[in-house]
Amino acid sequence: MIRIVKAAYVSLVYAFLYVPILVLVVFAFNDSRVATNWQGFSLRWFAKLFGNETLLGAAVNSVLVGVLAATLATAIGTLAAVAIYRYRFLGRKVLSTAVYILTIQPDIVMGISLLVLFMAVRMPLGFTTLLLAHVTFCIPFVTITVLGRLKGFDTHIVEAAQDLGASEYEIFLRIILPMILPAVAAGWLLSFTLSLDDVMVSFFVTGPSFEILPLKIYAMVKLGVKPEVNALSAILLVLTFCIVFAAQLMMKERREK
């Protein structure tokens, strides 16, 4: 009896999470203008989507910012994590606490504060400001991911390397980096997805010269959800699945080695 209740409960939770997504994907193939009734299978919304230059342009911009922001944030965030883990310096405690605060503070606060900052230094809003903003909010997530893995290690491993004659640089390159690589990769993927679907911060810090996908979609759905948006969402969904799957595969291979 309890097992049936448990199974039902779990099914319900998953249904709640995934049915809307499923509906969205199904309606991307609906041969109808309005999304409420099913009129038969069609790929016309995908065709229409690929004919929409501005939407595609925004998508390319989004991916570009995502890749760049993830890469920069991963580099900076990883080094920060290693520094916090490895060295005792003034303000270390403050820094590691600040990292956690940054992840829970409301996006709107970060958006506005960055906007104020960019205005203060008279930076024109556009690609650069957007990239800087994305790098900023991705760093703490990378740092926390990497720090989590570092804390799981036997502290004597680094000492053993020192004992065997490794310099600081060699310790980083040959011991720490290879051991945290899965976390670094996970941090990159996390940053990429965060950057790709950010609306709130981006809304404040980008200008009309540089359009990105989430903002574009946001603008489009104000006039009603078009089936094109469904099609786009379906593509993004498949893309996300691929990334998550790749990440899982990578982690698994590492563990088996």
Binding site: H156, I157, E159, A160, Q162, D163, L164, G165, A166, K257
Partner: protein
């Protein structure tokens, strides 16, 4: 140990963490080629002392000399010592070969030499053919050998070992103790070993330094320490021992007269004690002799008592005797072919004596 110059010289070293004094004025010389063990209970500062030698910490005061050079502020990677960690601390992402080669590669030796030395080392610790495995694919004992090989392959002046065998089961541990000792003899490298296991320390070491709360309380060969403990701490830490209360009552030409646990008796001591001095008499279980009241040797026995319990241990029997006055003594008797009379029953009356001169007398403080 005479005639060999010290490879390590620890001079008045103290170590303080925040407010606690962890090492208090330690001085010790370790001879080249010696197998020295720091033996002491948990928290007495053994690991801290080893970390000072390795260079992971530097002493609050005092000096450490290795091979004649002052080492206080020399970082670990510039010291010709290597450490075997208790947790092994193998590099999980490297193969066994890469682990062992790590130190040699840091020295930028030619690849062919590295290959030869690693192979030789793996053969020495009986790990041939496992060079391609990762640490996670090895048993505990094999990981232990990799840790050992990884340190020894660098041919350090001194090898530091911090309880390297404590994670192994009893049988493997005793086997590894013998292997370590043979390895040390064969390589001639100075080994500084740390353990809280008295049997382990005695089985391997040339010399043992017994530590207690930041001090070295006694140093000497295992035999010296076992037979002549200099204080109660050492006596009771290294093996089972019976401690009797006594008061000196007079002096005879070759012994001291005393009242021991309320009975008159004779004590033999290297040190002289004044009349009236309260002392402790220490006797190892194997030094006690039990006899039945009707036996001839019972006449010169000091105590009479009652058998409480007998525990058979194969070649020996552990016997608990309660002597007059209520004190329980632990005695160990060895089986030998022509005397089966150690077959005591609980409740049986016995006489207790000991081999003259085998007692240790310490002041009672």
């Amino acid at each position: 140990m005479t005639g060999r110059e010290p490879i390590i010289d620890i001079r008045n070293v103290s170590m303080r963490f925040d407010d606690t004094l962890v090492l208090d004025d330690i001085s010790l010389s370790i001879a080249n080629g010696e197998f020295l063990t720091f033996l002491g209970p948990s928290g007495c500062g053994k690991t801290t002392l080893l970390r000072l030698l390795a260079g992971f910490e530097s002493p609050t005061s005092g000096d450490i000399f290795i091979n004649g050079q002052r080492m206080n502020d020399v970082p670990p990677h510039r010291r010709e010592v290597n450490t075997v960690f208790q947790s092994y601390a193998l590099f999980p992402h490297m193969t066994v070969f890469e682990n062992v080669a790590f130190g040699l590669r840091r020295k930028k030796l030619p690849a062919s030499e590295i290959k030869g030395r690693v192979a030789e080392m793996l053969a020495l610790v009986k790990l041939e053919g496992l060079g391609g495995r990762r640490p996670a694919q090895l048993s505990g004992g094999q990981q232990q050998r990799v840790a050992l090989a990884r340190a020894v392959v660098n041919r350090p002046l001194v090898l530091l070992l911090d309880e390297p065998l404590s994670a192994l089961d009893f049988k493997l541990r005793t086997q590894m103790q013998m292997e370590l000792k043979h390895l040390q003899r064969r390589l001639g490298i100075t080994f500084v070993f740390v353990t809280h296991d008295q049997a382990e320390a005695f089985a391997m070491s040339d010399r043992v330094a017994v530590m207690s709360s930041g001090h070295i309380t006694q140093r000497g060969t295992p035999q010296e320490i076992y037979e002549n403990p200099q204080n109660l701490f050492v006596a009771s830490f290294v093996g089972e021992i019976n401690i009797l209360d006594a008061v000196i009552t007079g002096h005879a030409p070759d012994h001291l007269e005393a009242t021991i646990e309320g009975r008159r008796g004779a004590l033999h001591s290297r040190r002289d004690y004044p009349d009236g001095q309260r002392v402790k008499v220490l006797l190892r279980p194997e030094d006690l002799r039990l006899s039945r009241p009707e036996d001839p040797e019972a006449a010169e026995a000091c105590f009479s008592g009652v058998i409480k319990e007998c525990t058979y241990k194969g070649a020996t029997v552990d016997i608990q005797v309660e002597i007059e006055g209520g004190k329980a003594l632990q005695a160990t008797e060895f089986f030998n072919e022509d005397s089966e009379d150690i077959d005591y029953r609980p409740g049986e009356p016995v006489r207790v004596s000991w081999v003259r001169g085998w007692e240790t007398v310490l002041p009672d403080d």
